[in-house]
Symmetry: D2
Subunit: 386 residues, 4 copies
């Protein structure tokens, strides 16, 4: 197959010096040696773009002043020379225009979450993706963990019954300190509604929770009742949200997120209890997962243990006991992207039938959740249907 003759070629929008998530995307893309990073517009500040490009050993002619220029010039190059896809790692505000521009130029897109600045943009983006038929992946990276994929399989296979209760928490200390007043770039845009949108913590960590629980259970949230809080002075966006959830299948859930939880680093935990059994998984120790079935002893499954489903086993690189982590799971999203782009190049269908990464519809779902949760809060924390 033609596509396997070369690495897939990547460009980046955002992720210049001083940024956080851009570097994560590059590391994740590099890990499996199927992708080469060859172009970028890393910042609105062209000096930053040039310095960043140099640090990444890029050809200076592939470092662009604007993303529009990058889309245009790259698209004009022949296939195999031009970038195959661009990763969009800017603040939320810019996700949509950049993604749209590249898609319309015929270039596949990987985009960080939350997908867009507004819900309307999300809807429009979904239409563009449909129309272009290009690959669009959203980096809800936690679905890249092998044990998360195994959990999804357990529910899909009915081994744990129908979902009755979900408890998902995502707690960080990040915003206990007013970093945005102390010059931290990421805190500045995350706490600024003009760059982040209507959700603060809701957009940053809340959308991961929704995506994770719907990914595992495949049982969509049908109603939400949320209560958001802002504790530090001079902040406009939510720092903390609690919510009650109801699922289409009749189950119920609680959702507790915070970026003002002292001592918590990236404490995402999910427990799901069904009619026949349950699971418990925590992002900070992603190499094991507890599985319960009524009447049996608790089992601890491990990331690459001998008792995993094929889908889980396919997402792990090294033997059990040799821990993989955040980067490896993130890289699994990129693996799915590489596979999809290769299929696109070769004009053949995906073996897995559906994309093995979160899509534009996951991104749309996340934006709907932000909007519904904020609506719930604005109306006095009432139930809102999704």
């Amino acid at each position: 197959m033609k596509s396997w003759k070369r690495k897939i070629r990547m460009g980046m929008g955002g992720g210049g010096e001083g940024a956080f998530i851009g570097g994560v995307h590059r590391v994740a893309a590099a890990l499996d040696q199927q992708i080469e990073m060859i172009a970028g517009c890393f910042s609105r500040d062209f000096e930053n773009t040039k310095t960043t490009g140099e640090q990444l050993y890029l050809d200076p002619s592939r470092c662009y002043r604007t993303y529009e220029e990058m889309a245009e010039k790259e698209a004009a190059l022949p296939e195999g020379e031009r970038i195959d896809f661009v990763s969009v790692v800017t603040p939320n505000k810019m996700h949509f225009p950049i993604a749209k521009t590249f898609l319309q130029a015929g270039i596949h897109v990987v985009c960080d979450k939350p997908m867009t600045f507004t819900l309307d943009e999300a809807k429009e983006l979904a239409q563009i993706v449909e129309k272009t038929g290009l690959v669009f992946a959203l980096t809800h990276n936690y679905t890249g963990h092998p044990l998360v994929r195994h959990a999804r399989k357990l529910f899909a296979d009915g081994e744990l019954g129908t979902v009755r209760k979900v408890i998902v928490d995502y707690l960080q200390e990040f915003l206990c300190v007013p970093h945005e007043k102390l010059g931290m770039k990421q805190a500045i845009w995350r706490t600024d509604p003009a760059q982040s949108g209507i959700g603060g913590t809701m957009g940053d960590v809340g959308t991961h929770c929704l995506n994770l629980l719907e990914y595992i259970t495949q049982d969509p949230v049908s109603e939400v009742c949320a209560d958001k809080s802002t504790f530090l002075p001079d902040r406009a966006l939510d720092e903390d949200v609690n919510a009650l959830l109801r699922f289409k299948g009749g189950g119920k859930g609680v959702f507790a997120i915070s970026q003002v939880a002292p001592g918590e680093e990236n404490d995402l935990k999910i427990r799901i209890y069904g009619s026949k059994g349950g699971i418990s998984w925590a992002q900070e120790n992603p190499n094991s997962m507890e599985v319960y079935k009524i009447g049996e002893p608790k089992q601890t499954l491990t990331r690459a243990g001998s008792n995993l489903s094929d889908v889980a086993a396919a997402a792990t690189r090294i033997p059990s006991g040799h821990p993989e982590g955040y980067i490896e799971a993130f890289a699994n999203i990129y693996c799915g992207v590489v596979e999809a782009i290769r299929c696109h190049i070769d004009g053949r269908p995906l073996e897995t039938k559906e994309y093995n990464f979160p899509t534009v519809y996951d991104g749309l779902r996340g934006m709907e959740f932000i909007y519904k949760a904020v609506e719930s809060c604005d109306k006095g924390s009432v139930w809102v249907k999704m």
Copy 2:
């Protein structure tokens, strides 16, 4: 002091053969060798009472046909011979009439939770306790844990700032199986509104959660929005409840309880985050607690470690590393009761000024919480003020 010349004398209402919590009360009372069990009406079935009495090496003349008879005859005996207090360990329905009868006979009372069958009874009981001036203790046993007492001290001393977020979960597998149809005594009455009252899981484990979080934070819940569920057929009461909480001090919380959570045994966990730090404690591993302060490494405090407050240290019997558990914490409630009764006998005030155990007001609070949560659910899971 007169009271120290002898052990304190205990009677029991309920707790005959086949019951669960009565045995726990007896073990807890025996542990510290300050109490002797001497009388009882263990069942409505006098044969059961006689057999139970025999197994407990009681004088047959102190095994009574009815609790009314027991209250009357014991009260007629001279002090030092009669029971000093009675422990009420029946299904909820009988708590109030028994407690009332003994209090009116001048006998102190220890009572299991939830305190009464109805909220009105709870209010009346509070008045009776006030009027009689007798000791009344409610066995919210989890407040007997040394580290829980230390957590309360940390919040009382302001070391962790004002409360911003509370997450409390209490999960059990207990009712995943229809034990009430299979003859299990405890499941029969717990799932029967005629014996349990309007709260099922809410009364059984939910009141512990409320008590625990208000005990530690001393910041009362001011509003609740609850969503209850019943999954198994033919059940009338809640098996599972989720709720959002708001605190008087401005903090927020989530509350997730279930008795249909496969694999969970008695999984009560509480995490409280304040403006300066936080704590995390889990009932199943009660000998350690995590304490976080912003900017400092996480600390793990241990039950009898050298860094505990006096109140915590006073509630532990053996050196750190030698685990204490459920019974020992339960026994700490009885230690407080013994101390209060001894003070009452001697006519001297408590050194600690306030009772070192949950009181009738905690019981009243618990009943209010059940009623408010059920009201919230009945109205469609709306916010209800407490």
Copy 3:
């Protein structure tokens, strides 16, 4: 049966004010309400004995000046009035003379470990126990844990194959500080060879390790090669010992104990790997045990879970998830003693055929181990056969 008409009556040698383990024995004996404490000689200082007796609500006439007097006078009382057994909780030096005196007076004995001051005493004591036919129990309390009993059953049933590797650690911080110079009673006698014997840490915690591993595996240690250390100045006895072990069945082991390990409280852990599977159990979290079988996921068994053997289930009081600990396991030794004494009184055989507690032979084994390990060290850490 005659014996079930009354509680079993207990006396105590040692355990006066200021002592540690005496209080533990009393709590453990009280827990299950089958034993009443009625007599004692708690100290060589009669004032201490009297005060202690008063605190325990004893009849002053049952508080004795010397243990010889106690043995003589108690033995002269009729059965049912006299003590059925005595618990010996003095420093090691006095174990033998007291135990011998009571056994010869026809009174059963419970004794703390290590059993005697010298190996010769241990041999003589075994003969006395044999000759008198009385109950003698040694409080290697860790064998009282339900999950330890379950582990023994797993090996006995061959479920884990033959033992290949044992790793046992027992670490404490206790002697990092020269407490014996600061007046701590227990540290004074424990660091004094004239009161403790030839083993320091070896006697205090090392004998527990040997007992625990032989109890579980039923595969005796056949050779030992030990290396002992003393780090603090002015100490005569070992504070820390490492050893290699060989088992009769061909397996091997390491043994690492210390009382100068900063931060460790009572950190006894045992891991045993057989040809088919293995277990891991830690005293500080005794309510769960990991069980592995080749090719299967790791299981976590819990103290009162539904997957335990009868022997384990029989040693637990309360449902799983409600943690039991050190005292409860200690109390299980006393339960076995009560059962054995009741059988003795009734003249009937034990249902379990063998005593359900460590016996004089376990004590003798422990003393041999101390002597062999010290011999190994004294010869330059060479292999010594047991």
Copy 4:
């Protein structure tokens, strides 16, 4: 600086299809995007080399029939075009000849452990490295973990006092099954003394333990007493070793390794207790480490927490709470190599003065340890000086 104008160029000896550790080296080298893989002789089977090269998108002209040819032809290319270093990832037997060949051709070397097939080779290799002045790194990858580096700093700074006790375990299930009879390549050579050398498990995992403990404590092992075992039939090498250790500084240790421990995946744990405090770290959960200081609560430090030393912080890529693992630590070794090679190219000294990775002397030390431990065993498990 000249070196920063381009990526460092890597070749590989070994690591063809069917091998394990070669892929790990490639992933680790790719992660930080400072290295490009451009040449290889992946197997003695040239077909395998060609296929592997194709999968890695290598220029076919850089895929070589023999390592000698590769060394010769690469060395003949100009700097910047030729490989800067080669990674040697063959079975132990071939480490020395390959490393020697490349060093003598002027090419830097990264080599897997144990360093050589015999101790004599190790000595000769050290001399070659000294003479050539080239970079030689041994992938004792566990020293790449940020918290391991922090632990070393704590001991170097005297914060935990002098070492008194070390407990190191490294347990795997790997060889419980006779994989070498079932065709597993790695098991075949690992269990074959003709390919592995005189140590089996000792070479594979034992050398990691020695390296790790000496790296952290900087207190060399001065004496060893070892006891090795082989349990499965038809195996020539050790599967399991226990050893007692003595340190130059007066401390003592135990060492327990096994590849026949059911249920254990890659269970490397190290606990080190000094006169003032101690640490506990486990490879399977490398993102946290417990630190104890006498009189203070236990602390849990995290991989990228705010309380780490600069050396630890420098070895981490992503924020705390986002777990890094085996690959990231392995990549840290490569980061050190890249830095050293860049300095070599630029003719400038290392900022850190010493190499930030295990060197040929660590490899020599490891080989000495294997030989001394085997000597100890062969003489009946006696003490042997190092």
